[in-house]
Symmetry: C2
Subunit: 115 residues, 2 copies
């Protein structure tokens, strides 16, 4: 039992490390719609700065969730997309977000009351 | 697009508020195995104190994730179990934990390096 318990803890910890923070769930959500250029992504992730978006993408790339492709056109074109791991992460995050929306809707009054 | 984006953010925020913290994923995981009495739960959630377990269960109950049933035997018996919402939450959390384990296993070296 303990081994499986640790597995849930470690796995969840790792996942939340990769997807944690204010912006990453939204960036991953937008990229799951298809390969996107930096400028378009920046317009669609409301309120994010260029610097932050660049850093978040670089972290997601380092974590194997996002792929970055450079097209040698003139000027060079750069596109970001989800790797298979990124698609799987988006699905898992989306399932948790769906739970949150459904259960917020049925009035989980207690939820917002905790410290 | 923006509406769906907010939906992902709000839902995920609500879910992580309900299941966040060191102990709740493990408590919910243990209860998904079946109705459990306080003492047994305390033994199985390694390292948790009686006070903390009591508080976490009360919060999970307030959030509609855990149900508490009192049997009027002598002495009275109390059992905790997952509500349907709790079962759905456990499934969603488990999917994210599975992702984390699978992708930690393939060496997402970048993951642990971020601030």
């Amino acid at each position: 039992m303990a081994r499986k318990q640790r597995a849930v803890d470690c796995g969840l910890g790792t996942a939340l490390t990769v997807i944690g923070g204010k912006w990453k769930p939204t960036i991953v959500w937008e990229l799951h719609l298809g390969p996107t250029r930096f400028g378009a992504l920046r317009r669609r992730v409301l309120g994010i700065s260029e610097k932050i978006l660049f850093e978040q993408l670089r972290e997601l790339e380092a974590d194997g969730v996002v792929a970055r492709e450079v097209f040698d056109s003139v000027p060079p074109k750069v596109e970001y997309s989800l790797t298979p791991a990124g698609v799987a992460l988006n699905d898992a995050v989306h399932a948790l977000a769906e739970w949150g929306r459904n259960h917020a809707a049925v009035g989980m009054a207690g939820t917002l009351g905790h410290g």
